[in-house]
Structure formats: C-alpha cells, structure tokens
Symmetry: C2
Subunit: 256 residues, 2 copies
C-alpha cells in the first residue's frame, strides 16, 4: 500500500520544504519508488530539486483544475527512484478557481488514487496556510508529518494545526493519521530549543520522532544548487539527520 505523507504546518519557515525534499531524496536513495508533489505556489520543492519553475509545460495547477492528468506533469529528477510533480506561481490562480469547482476538496486525492500502484511513497509539500491547497493535500494523504521549528511561535501554532487535522479527519478523510512531529532547526546551545523540544515531547510524547534535525547551514545552501542535501554534502550534519529520520519513517508505523 502506497504511503501518502503530507508535510504541513501553517506556521511559515519551519522546514516543510526542506523536510519534504530531503525525505523524498533519502527514500529514493533507499530505492523506494517515490513521488514528490509540490502544492505550494512558491514552488520551493520544485526549485530545490533543480527545476526551473518558470518554464514548465504542466504543473500540479493543471491537474487540480482538471486540464491534465497527474502522469502528464510528472518529471524525472537527478535520482532514479524520485519523480516530481512540480508547481509554480500559476497555482495561486487555482486557489480562486477551485472554490467554484465541484469536489474541490478531493481533486488531488482523485488524481493520486489513479497512480497508487506506481509508487511506494508519495510526499506532498504544502504552503504555509490552511487554504484549499492544504485541504486537498490533507484529504489525499494517509498521514501528516508536522515539522516543528524549535521556537516559540511555532509551538504556539501547533494546537490549531492539530484541530484542523481533526476537522479534516471528520469531514473528508477519516483515515488520516499523524505520521509524527519532527523537531527542526534545533540549536543545542540555546535554552529555547531545549525548552520547545521538552514541551513538544511532554504534549505529544511518542508522536515526536527520535531524530532531531539540527540547524545546519548546508541545509540552507543546498537549494541554491538545486540539490537535496544528500547530493550536495552527504557528510554534513543536516544530511546525516535526514538519513536517520528517513530510516525512522521507513521502519515505523504511523504514530496515531
């Protein structure tokens, strides 16, 4: 059964794209057939894998409004087992256009269902909002992965995100599980990081992954070369952390 994992958090800049790209890349290196879907109009996951988002024949926009099927927009990447369904700024138009379309919440789910057999993992990167695009991603998913930046504002927003996941579960996707909470941009030398990590483990206990992603400049340099960090600097602390995290994802069942 294909594992469909949506990476979501309405708080901005917490490491959603960095997690989606590096998890997808590490899964591909482990020879798991993986599709990364970029549903953020910023197109950061697409450019993080080296795609020029201004020069796409098709994107997830065309799939959501029904002009193309998912296979028609899928592109290969530098990694043999990794494919990408890219996005770009056209997607901003979809937010408005989809409001009047039938089945507007389930358009991504319908597109994904048709490709189940082909991939072992489908990873979906979301924008920093709870708009119709994120609703589509949460409805298409079997589980949701929540990157949590080890900072105060990020922790504050978590309760609301959990409520939204509950709403989606009761209205569009009863099977939606929590893949887990991943602590990101952790700076061991600051009290703040330690406090946030402690509070997250207290509230969410075993739903928090063992692996913690440290703040590591190689992770923020890699996108400017259009590469996931494991292709940019495999020996960096950032790459090591995402490889360890991916092992956890492959081996563990969803956390609930």
């Amino acid at each position: 059964m294909t594992r469909i994992i949506t990476v979501s958090n309405q708080k901005g800049g917490v490491g959603k794209t960095t997690t989606a790209v590096n998890l997808a890349a590490a899964l591909a290196v482990a020879e798991k057939r993986t599709l990364l879907i970029d549903i953020d109009p910023q197109g950061n996951a697409s450019s993080g894998l080296g795609k020029d988002t201004s020069d796409l024949d098709g994107s997830i926009y065309h799939v959501l409004i029904g002009e193309k099927s998912l296979p028609e927009v899928i592109l290969p990447t530098d990694l043999p087992y990794l494919s990408l369904a890219p996005s770009n700024i056209d997607l901003i138009g979809a937010e408005i256009e989809m409001l009047d379309l039938p089945r507007r919440e389930t358009r991504l789910k319908e597109a994904v269902v048709s490709r189940h057999g082909e991939y072992e993992f489908i990873i979906i990167d979301c924008p920093p909002s709870l708009s119709i695009l994120t609703v589509n991603a949460l409805t298409a998913a079997r589980s949701v992965l929540v990157p949590l930046q080890c900072e105060y504002f990020a922790l504050e927003g978590l309760t609301h995100l959990m409520k939204t996941i509950g709403l989606i579960r009761s209205s569009f996707n009863p099977g939606l599980a929590l893949e887990g909470i991943l602590l990101t941009m952790y700076s061991p030398r600051t009290n703040l990081s330690r406090q946030v990590a402690e509070e997250a483990r207290e509230h969410f206990s075993d739903k928090v992954f063992q692996t913690v992603i440290p703040r590591n400049v190689r992770l923020s340099e890699a996108p400017s070369f259009g590469k996931p960090v494991i292709l940019y600097d495999i020996r960096s602390k950032g790459a090591e952390a995402y490889l360890a995290f991916t092992k956890e994802v492959i081996s563990h069942e969803q956390k609930g």
Copy 2:
C-alpha cells in the same frame, strides 16, 4: 500625515512579525504614537506583545466583517505610545466570509482612514500568503516594508512579491510605495548570507535599508515572554539593530 506601513512577504518565517513588533515598539519608545494591527490569523504579533489571543472581546476579525469599529478592538500595551489591534484564529473565517462581502479589498482601509489623526505610525503585520487579508493590508497602506531572510528560497520569492505590489498599485492603491527591503537573520559567518545580501543590493540598490538585522537568539526568546526585544534585552544585538533600523525609518522618505 500618518505613515501606514504594511510588513509583508508571502515567504514564511522571514521575520515579518519580529520586524512589525520591534519596529512598533521602538517607534513607541521614540514617543511616536503608534498602532500595530495584527492581520495574521496566527496572532503572533498579538502574543508577541503579551496578549492572550484566546481571550479577546474583539479583534481585527470583527472590524473586517463590519461588526465593530477599529477603536472598539484597540488594546493598550506595556508601552504608553503603543496600541494594538489584535487578531486570533477567528480571522481564518474572515478569509471565506469576506469573499462575498461588498468592497472586500478595502474594508481595512475604510476602518483605518477613520483613525488617521490619532496615530503618527500604523504598522500592519501580514500572514505568509497573498490572500484577501494581505490584499486588505496592502490596500490600506501608504508603503510596504519587505523583510528578506538572507536565504535562497526567500530571495527567489521576491520577484513575485514585487509583481503583486505592482498589481495592487494599479488596481486598489495607486499611492502604494516601497518603504524598503530589510535584510533579516543575517549570519556574517556564512557565504549564503553574504551572497543573498549582495544580490539584494545589486537588484534593489538603495531600496535596501543600511541596517541589517543579524541572527540573534534574544529576538526569538523575547516572544516567549510576551515582550518586544527592547523590553526583554535592550543590550542585545537584535535590539540594537531594530533601534538603528527604526531611526532609518523615522528619518528617511519612502524608497520608491
């Protein structure tokens, strides 16, 4: 004439709230009568000033849907010259409700116009999107301040933001000027920060503020105490940078 400055960037986590809160606080310390409007449903600017956003009698939500006037929701803060129009999660409802209301793009502008005489500065903190809430903030503003995190994805999103500002200027707010671009989370020891700063100054030349905000942990600790950094640790590099930046804002004319 009241200076109405909207702090906006659809890229998440670039320092919008940190800039809005600390600019507003520094203006108040300089005894400029200042109103901070929080139009982000996350309510980070409100909690960054110590307000409990779950316990508000009124918020900017009520103003936008026409149930209350702006003065009815304004709260005092720890600083005598600083007032706050708070927000909370109810605002998510407004995004949907406003789509069917008349004059949906100019509701904040109409509310703000009535209070001009009372404040010398009005600062508006936006969510990480270009939704109807941000359109309202850009339509109400005389100028827009763009925090630019010194990282690759943030630089990528800038062209699109400038296009959106141009669209707002031609449709709803012909007088909208660029207050300037503020470099944030600058780490002098990394090449990435230096490269992004160089590219920003090349593209936008004198539209980039002289002051650069360094990455400084005191800035991310302050919100957990509900205080702007100048009340939390006035000697920190973060506080010094925001005080220097505020001097630039007070003295300089808009950049174009």
